[in-house]
C-alpha cells in the first residue's frame, strides 16, 4: 500500500478514537465536570484531528476544526465559560465534526447547511469572548512599538531601477547572547545558512573575551560583522535568524541605506542625526494576556515544571493505563455489611473468651488478639473501597466560584488544598450541596466588592481557600475567605430583630458569629438568587450534622471568615459513647457530645411541670432524663445519682441528657432499624455489641427537640416582655 494511504487510514482510525474522546469529554463537562484535564483532553482531540486533516489537505474539515479548536481554546483558558448553552453548541459541533470526518473518509461532502449553522454559532461564541493578544501572531509591529515607514530611495537619490536590484549588499551585525547557545543554536550553523544565500565576508570581534580565569564557558563574548552580497530580499536574510532573534542583537542594513544615512548625516550637520531606519531586533517579550488561573493546576506561565508535573500527575490518575475495575456499589456495600458482621462476631468471641477466664498468655487469647487486628485491618481496607478523593467536589466549586464571581462582578481566586484527601462516597455526595452554598455565600457576602477591597488596602482579587485534611480520624474541610469578616453588630441586630436572642443578651464574639447558623437567619438584605433561595446557614449546618459532622466559624473583622467542617470518614461505623439507661445499653454518637458532667444536687433546678434545668458555667441547660423519654421508667430519676451528657442538637440547642452510667467509648457498626424493624422515636439506628446484645443508637436531635420546643414556647413571653 502507498505509505501515505496507510497513514491516511491511521488518521481516520485516530479520528474515530478522538471523536469518542471528544464526545465523552464534552458530556462530562455537561455533567458539571470542570476538571482542567477533561477540557485539555477535549481540546487535544480536536487539535489532533486538525493536525492530520491539514496534512492531508481536507480543507473543509480544517476550516471547521479550526473554529472549533479556537472556541475550545477559549474554554480551556477560562475565557469562555462552559455554560450549558456553550456545552450544547460544542456537543453539536462534535456531531458536525464526525459528519465532516466521515465525508472526508468517504470522499463525499457533509451537509454544508448544518456545518454553517454550527460554525456560525461557534463564531458567535468567539465574538462574545474577550480575545487576548496571544491569539494573533501578527502583533509584532504593535509590540515593537515601531512605525513602519516607507522610504522611497528614488525620491532622494537616483539609485537606478525602482525594482529590487538583482543583488544587494547587506551589513549584518550579530551578537549572540548566552541564551542562544543554551537553546542549542550555533553561530556556525547560522553563518553556514547565510553562506548559502550568497557571497559573504565575516569578521569576528574578540574584544569582549575576558581573561581565561574570568571566562564563563557558557557565556557569549563574540560579535560578528557579516558583509553579504545576495540576490535574496532582506526578509529572507532575516529568516536565517528566525529561531534566534530573541537571543541575540542583530542589525541588518543594506549597504545602500548605509551610504544614504551617511549622506543624510552630512547634510543635516550639525543637527542631531535622525534615528536610523533600521530594524533592530532586540530581545523583547510580547505582551501575553495570561488568563487568571481557573484552578490551582494552572500554574503561572513561567512555571512550566510545576505545571508539567501537575499535568503528569493528573493524567497518571486518569490515564487509560490505570489498573482499576468497576464494581457495582451494591456489592461493595454488601461486603461492608459482612465485614460489619465480622467485627461484631469477633467482638463477641473476644468477650466470651475473656469471660471464660483464660490467661492472657494463652494461645487462644493471643490468636484472638491477632484476629482482632486482622479484622480491624479488613474493616479499614473495605472502608477504603468506598473512600474517594474530594477532588471532584472541590473542582465543581471552582465552577461555582467562577459563576458567582461573574454574577456579582467580583474577582475571586479559588485556591484548593488537599484535594486528594479521601472520604466515604456518600459523605462526598452529600457534601456538594452544603459546600456549594458556603462557597456562594463566601463569594457573595464574604468577599467585598473590588472598590471596597482596594479601599481596605487589600488586593483587588479576593482569595478563597478550600482545603481538606485528615485530622484524628475525621476529615476537616475549611472554606476560608479574605473578605470583610462577619459584621457582628449587624448579625446581632438581625438576631434581636428576629427574636432569636433577647436584646440585652450578653454574647461573646464567637457566640455572635455562630448566630448565623440559627434557623431563619439570613444576613442578605434581599434574597439573592446567588446565595440560595432564602436558604440560610442553618440548612448547611443541618446537612453537615446529618452526616455526623460539625461546623464552626471563626471570623476576624476586615480579615475574613473561615468555616470549618469536621466530618466522619465513613457512615458505616460510628464512634459512640456506650451508656446504661434503665438497665438497657444505649449508644450516644460521640459527635453530639460536648462534655460529660456529674450533676450536683444544688445545680439542678425544678421549673415546675416536671421540667428541670442544670446550671453549667453560668447558663441553664434543659435536663432530660433519657430513661423517661424512652419510657424505660415512669418517674424521672434523681439527677444527683446520675451522669449527664451535655449534647448539642442539629439546631444548635444544648441539652443535658441524664443517663445511669457510662460504659465506655467504642466504634460501633451501624445497623438500620427501619430496614430490620421500623422507626422508633428517639432512636436513630441500632448496633450489635460484643456480648451479642442489640444496643440502640440514640437520636439526639429527636430527644432534644420535643422538650426544646416546650422551652421555646416558655421562653417567648419572657423575650417579649
Amino acid at each position: 500500500m502507498d505509505p501515505m494511504a496507510a497513514i491516511k487510514q491511521t488518521f481516520f482510525q485516530e479520528c474515530e478514537e478522538q471523536l469518542v474522546e471528544l464526545e465523552s469529554g464534552l458530556l462530562r463537562i455537561e455533567d458539571g465536570d470542570d476538571d482542567l484535564e477533561t477540557v485539555n483532553a477535549v481540546f487535544r482531540a480536536v487539535h489532533s484531528i486538525k493536525g492530520g486533516a491539514g496534512a492531508f489537505g481536507f480543507d473543509e474539515l480544517v476550516e471547521f476544526v479550526h473554529v472549533f479548536e479556537t472556541t475550545l481554546d477559549l474554554v480551556r483558558s477560562a475565557k469562555l465559560a462552559a455554560t450549558p448553552a456553550v456545552t450544547k453548541t460544542l456537543l453539536r459541533a462534535s456531531d458536525v465534526l464526525a459528519d465532516l470526518v466521515r465525508a472526508a473518509r468517504e470522499g463525499g461532502s457533509a451537509d454544508a447547511g448544518a456545518v454553517k449553522i454550527i460554525a456560525d454559532e461557534l463564531n458567535a461564541l468567539l465574538g462574545s469572548a474577550p480575545r487576548g493578544n496571544d491569539e494573533d501572531d501578527t502583533i509584532s509591529v504593535d509590540a515593537l512599538d515601531f512605525e513602519p515607514v516607507c522610504i522611497s530611495l528614488d525620491s532622494i537619490f537616483d539609485l537606478g531601477e525602482p525594482d529590487a536590484p538583482a543583488t544587494q549588499d547587506f551589513i549584518l551585525r550579530f551578537k549572540p547572547s548566552a541564551g542562544l547557545y543554551a537553546k542549542a543554536n550555533e553561530t556556525l550553523r547560522l553563518l553556514r545558512e547565510l553562506g548559502r544565500l550568497g557571497e559573504m565576508t565575516v569578521e569576528c570581534d574578540l574584544h569582549e573575551i575576558p581573561q581565561l580565569t574570568e571566562l564563563d564557558p557558557e557565556g557569549a563574548y563574540l560579535c560578528w560583522t557579516i558583509h553579504l552580497t545576495t540576490g535574496v530580499s532582506e526578509q529572507q536574510v532575516r529568516e536565517v535568524f528566525e529561531f534566534v532573534e530573541w537571543d541575540c542583537e542583530l542589525s541588518i542594513e543594506t549597504a545602500d541605506v548605509g551610504r544614504l544615512l551617511e549622506a543624510l548625516q552630512e547634510s543635516l550637520e550639525p543637527h542631531e542625526a535622525p534615528a536610523a531606519p533600521t530594524v533592530v531586533a532586540e530581545p523583547m517579550e510580547k505582551r501575553i494576556a495570561v488568563a487568571s488561573p481557573p484552578t490551582s493546576y494552572a500554574a503561572p506561565s513561567d512555571d512550566h515544571p510545576a505545571a508539567a508535573k501537575a499535568d503528569a500527575a493528573k493524567s497518571d490518575g486518569s490515564g487509560s493505563v490505570q489498573a482499576t475495575i468497576r464494581v457495582d456499589l451494591d456489592r461493595v456495600d454488601r461486603l461492608i455489611n459482612l465485614v460489619g458482621e465480622l467485627v461484631i462476631n469477633q467482638a463477641m468471641l473476644s468477650q466470651r473468651v475473656s469471660e471464660a477466664g483464660l490467661s492472657r498468655a494463652s494461645s487462644v487469647v493471643i490468636g484472638l488478639d491477632e484476629l482482632e487486628q486482622l479484622t480491624r485491618d479488613i474493616q479499614d481496607s473495605v472502608m477504603a473501597i468506598r473512600a474517594q478523593p474530594v477532588k471532584p467536589v472541590f473542582q465543581r466549586m471552582s465552577r461555582t466560584v467562577r459563576e458567582v464571581a461573574s454574577m456579582t462582578g467580583k474577582a475571586v481566586r479559588l485556591v484548593m488544598e488537599g484535594e486528594a484527601t479521601e472520604v466515604d462516597k456518600t459523605v462526598i455526595e452529600r457534601l456538594t450541596d452544603p459546600l456549594t452554598h458556603m462557597i456562594r455565600n463566601a463569594v457573595d457576602h464574604g468577599i467585598e466588592k473590588a472598590e471596597d477591597r482596594i479601599a481596605a488596602g487589600k488586593p483587588e482579587e479576593g482569595a478563597l481557600r478550600l482545603s481538606a485534611m485528615h485530622r484524628s480520624g475525621r476529615i476537616v474541610i475549611e472554606v476560608a475567605d479574605d473578605g470583610a469578616g462577619i459584621n457582628r453588630a449587624r448579625v446581632r441586630q438581625i438576631a434581636v430583630s428576629k427574636g432569636l436572642i433577647p436584646a440585652e443578651a450578653n454574647l461573646t464574639d464567637d457566640e455572635i458569629d455562630n448566630l448565623i447558623f440559627l434557623p431563619g437567619f439570613s444576613t442578605a438584605s434581599s434574597v439573592s438568587n446567588i446565595s440560595g433561595r432564602g436558604v440560610g446557614m442553618d440548612v448547611v449546618k443541618r446537612a453537615i450534622q446529618a452526616l455526623g459532622g460539625r461546623i464552626s466559624i471563626s471570623s476576624v473583622p476586615g480579615r475574613g471568615s473561615t468555616f470549618s467542617m469536621s466530618l466522619p470518614l465513613t457512615l458505616a461505623v460510628l464512634d459512640g459513647m456506650v451508656v446504661t439507661v434503665g438497665g438497657q445499653t444505649l449508644v450516644v454518637p460521640l459527635t453530639a457530645i460536648i462534655e460529660t458532667l456529674q450533676p450536683k444536687k444544688e445545680s439542678v433546678h425544678e421549673l415546675g411541670s416536671g421540667a428541670r434545668v442544670i446550671a453549667t458555667r453560668n447558663t441553664f441547660t434543659p435536663l432530660i432524663d433519657v430513661g423517661a423519654v424512652l419510657l424505660y421508667r415512669d418517674e424521672p430519676i434523681e439527677a444527683a445519682s446520675q451522669v449527664a451528657l451535655l449534647v448539642e442538637s442539629e439546631s444548635g440547642a444544648k441539652c443535658a441528657l441524664l443517663v445511669d452510667a457510662i460504659q465506655g467509648q467504642r466504634q460501633v457498626v451501624i445497623k438500620s432499624l427501619e430496614t430490620n424493624y421500623g422507626h422508633v422515636h428517639g432512636i436513630a439506628a441500632a448496633t450489635i455489641l460484643g456480648d451479642g446484645r442489640v444496643a440502640l443508637i440514640l437520636d439526639v436531635d429527636a430527644i432534644v427537640a420535643r422538650p426544646r420546643a416546650d422551652m421555646i414556647v416558655a421562653e417567648m413571653p419572657v423575650a417579649a416582655e
Binding site: F43, G51, F243, A312
Partner: protein, 121 residues
Amino acid sequence: MSKTILTVDDSRTMREMLMLALSEAGFSVVQAEDGVHGLEVLEKATPDVIVTDINMPRMDGFGFIEGVRRHEKHRGVPILVLTTESDGEKKDRARRAGATGWIVKPFNPVKLVDAIRRVAV
C-alpha cells in the same frame, strides 16, 4: 552514519507522517508518544535532533523541552517544536522553555528536513 531524530507526538497519524518524511530523507527515527515517554526514550537513545509536539497528555511539549534542557547528557540537543502558524504564544513559550526552533504545521517534508538541517551540525 545517518543522523537520528527523536519525534515526540501523541498523534499516531503525526508520528507516522514524521517517520515517513524523515526516513525518506535518510534519517534514523526514534519515536515517543508524549513528554514523559520522550524523557524515558532519552535514557536509551542519543538523538541528534528532537522534533516535538506541544499539546500532549501527561507531559506537554513545554515540560519536555525543559526536561531535556536539564538533562545532563542531552541538554545540548537541538529541539524543534511543531506549532501552528497562528500560535505565537506557544512558539514564545516553547522558546522560553529552551526550544531551538520550530516547524509550522501542517508541515511539508521539505520544510521539515530543511529546519532539521538548519539546526543540526
